[in-house]
Amino acid sequence: MFEKVAIMFGASPTQYRQLLEIEKMVEKRAFERKDGLPHLSLALTCGVCFIISVLLTFVPFLLPMDTFTYALTGITMSMMMIGIWTIPYFDILLSPINYPVIAHTPVSSRTYFLVKLTQVATYTVWLLACLNLMPAIGGIWIRSEESSQFQFLFPLVYLPSVFMSGLFTIGVMTTFAGYLTKLYTRQALRNIAQYAQFIFPALFPTMLVIFPHLLPSISKDKLTSVLKWFYALPNGWFAGIVSLALGQIERHFLILAGLAVASTFFLVLVPLRSIAKSYSEYLSYLLESGGRRKSKLRVKTPLFARLFRNRTIRAGMCLSFVYLRRDKHILRQFFASLGTIIMLVVLFARDGSSYMTWPHHSNAIGFSPGFSGTFYFVGISAITGFISPVRYSEHWKASWMLTLAPLSAPNDLWRGVQATVLLYIVVPCTLLMLCIAIFFWGILGMFYVLPVLTVLLYFVILYPKPLSGFPLAEEFVQQQVAYESLVPFLTSLLVIGVFVGIQLLTFWLNIWVYYGFYFFTVASGLIGFIYFLRGNR
């Protein structure tokens, strides 16, 4: 079947098949873990998608929902997941590494591009299947004024529509990346992709905060008027196909379905063919890495690195600080983690400052110690966003330099990483949260943020270090990094839960015990921080 597609695209079916097999083999070997757990992260992502899908399946049983709204929810979720997921694959689709490989061989641009596109599409199908199989079945039980006698056909209509929306999303993302490549330099394109990502992680929690507040206040008429806004968006068009195919022959659904089909064809297939045609040209654009400007020789040391006299710590700090600023994988994960700050602002803006008093006050949002947990969560997300990928690197083979060096305490290099985290992430992050808290609640807000320093300090110190003690010394495999960062992150949430629990317990026992514990926490954080800086000099 794939070979027919190849012919349709004007690609060579033999070359397409061979290249696809090679790419699959290379990818499989790259993802294979030493402990024999290949593709675990894909399985994990599929697992998460499946859990989301189960939750979505029960929505029609809990809330009155018509077919259009239900399909719209599922399709929106799918398009977002595919969108988020496609971004890391920009480099697979438009990889400059491929250029030296294909430029001198008789493989056409279209053939090679199609191979790349097939790779991404295969994973997309997996994700969409996990995300939509259950909701597709759940849709049969939707009962509303608009539901038709053909409701039992819901899975047959919904699934193709979702797959079409997935194709649309990949196409739009690829086309978008393709055209940006022509307009901007490779670095600029990467920056756009990296920096834009901090929006996505904020989106789900933010929606979870906003949605429950909106639901009770929205009447059915209002909801209908809100839904009309979605007619202008692609997810609305694909949901329109579902309503139309289930017998709701109405003019606006006809228009929406028409838009979905036409847009998939004209906005996806046509530009994709165009990119496919000049794929090599795009790759050669990528190779132009912004020119080499002549510059004057400057020997500088980052400001905070001067705090450390131990040269190995200083070396580790400078190395990790450079990678914090320049490595795309680290930036991608780090900026994604910063999305939680948006969540924090939205949460506070929504709940306002009217109830806020001194932390122990029972009228504070929820209960105050628990509420301060949100600050810990933000800090830990930011730290994990850097400290978990910094163990790995595309340039891991360069770690021979670290092995070669006469280091009496190799762990000092990791201490340098910890120093980077503390001085360039923890301190600015705490200050930012302090500003946010003071902005919303005046000077009292400060008391919510102060224990954050303690929690984050010990999180950084206790975060498991690599066996070698070296940063950037393990081969970067996206899935493996994602999987291995999950365990410390989840564990830290558990520890935070316990910490918040202790705070609550002291609050219930006696307010003076609570104050004592609070001041002990804050003081131990400040002392610990100073001790860390002095101890590692």
């Binding site: 400007r293 510059s295 070396a315 400078c318 190395l319 083979k397 070669l404 060096a405």
Partner: protein
């Protein structure tokens, strides 16, 4: 300065380096030659502490690789075969990193970076990322880092790969001067002409075994050959060149394309 005794490295049943022993004196530059996969780079990696030997003893600058590895490492400089570098660093940042790892004073690091960049004509690229460097620039980067901490012993694995003629000429002279000043160099290469001009003594390794270790003149007498490439061919048993050439021509000329 370099003492190697019964050095062996096994990968499973395969012996990459098979019971080799040699000595290199202070102020000596020795060429270490051998065909592809003979075990040259493996030997060097063991000598600098990047690989653990299966058996045998190594001593460099009076320090044992087994018990005094840190002291040994502090006194050596190494240019590896492949230019694997942290590519997001600039040349300055890379050299700062290496200087700090070798415990060089911060002021001295800055001074050496300026001087080395000037010497290797890399001032304009000093604050650019290594990822944008050509292969030759990367090689210069490796050589600079090997020289930065003033090592007593240099282990050079194909150090002139991708370098331009001017830099190669400069480096040859620099190496000769360093040897005169008492530095010890083990020079690993495929390029026989360079080895012949630079190294009075040659060691040849073939299939993990040391098959020759003598001054070039002595090797000429032993093999009755005048050119080093002929000596090399005889000692590494690279015979039947004419037959192999004919076979190669036959394979290339076979029509394989259906276009």
């Amino acid at each position: 300065m370099i003492h190697v005794t019964h050095l062996t490295k096994k990968y499973g049943a395969t012996k990459a380096v098979d019971d080799i022993s040699f000595e290199v004196q202070q102020g000596e530059i020795v060429g270490y030659l051998g065909p592809n996969g003979a075990g040259k780079s493996t030997t060097l990696k063991m000598l600098v502490g990047l690989l653990q030997p299966t058996s045998g003893e190594i001593s460099v600058a009076g320090y044992s690789a087994e018990t005094e590895l840190l002291e040994l490492k502090q006194r050596i400089g190494y240019v590896p075969e492949e230019a694997q570098l942290y590519e997001h660093l600039t040349l300055v940042e890379h050299l700062q990193l290496m200087g700090r790892l070798y415990h060089v004073e911060e002021v001295l690091i800055a001074q050496k970076i300026t001087d080395l960049a000037k010497l290797f004509d890399m001032e304009a690229q000093a604050n650019q990322r290594i990822s944008g460097f050509s292969q030759g620039m990367r090689q210069k980067c490796l050589i600079m880092s090997a020289l930065l901490h003033n090592p007593n012993v240099l282990f050079l694995d194909e150090p002139f790969t991708n370098l331009d003629v001017t830099t190669v000429t400069l480096m040859k002279t620099v190496l000769q001067r360093l040897v005169e000043l008492g530095k010890t160099i083990l020079y690993c290469t495929h390029i026989l002409e360079v080895a012949e001009t630079l190294c009075p003594r040659i060691m040849i390794i073939n299939a993990g075994k040391l098959v020759a270790d003598a001054p070039v003149e002595e090797l000429r007498e032993q093999t009755n050959q005048t050119a080093l490439n002929e000596i090399f061919a005889e000692l590494t048993e690279t015979t039947g060149l004419d037959e192999k050439t004919e076979e190669a021509i036959r394979i290339v000329m076979e029509d394989t394309s259906d276009v």
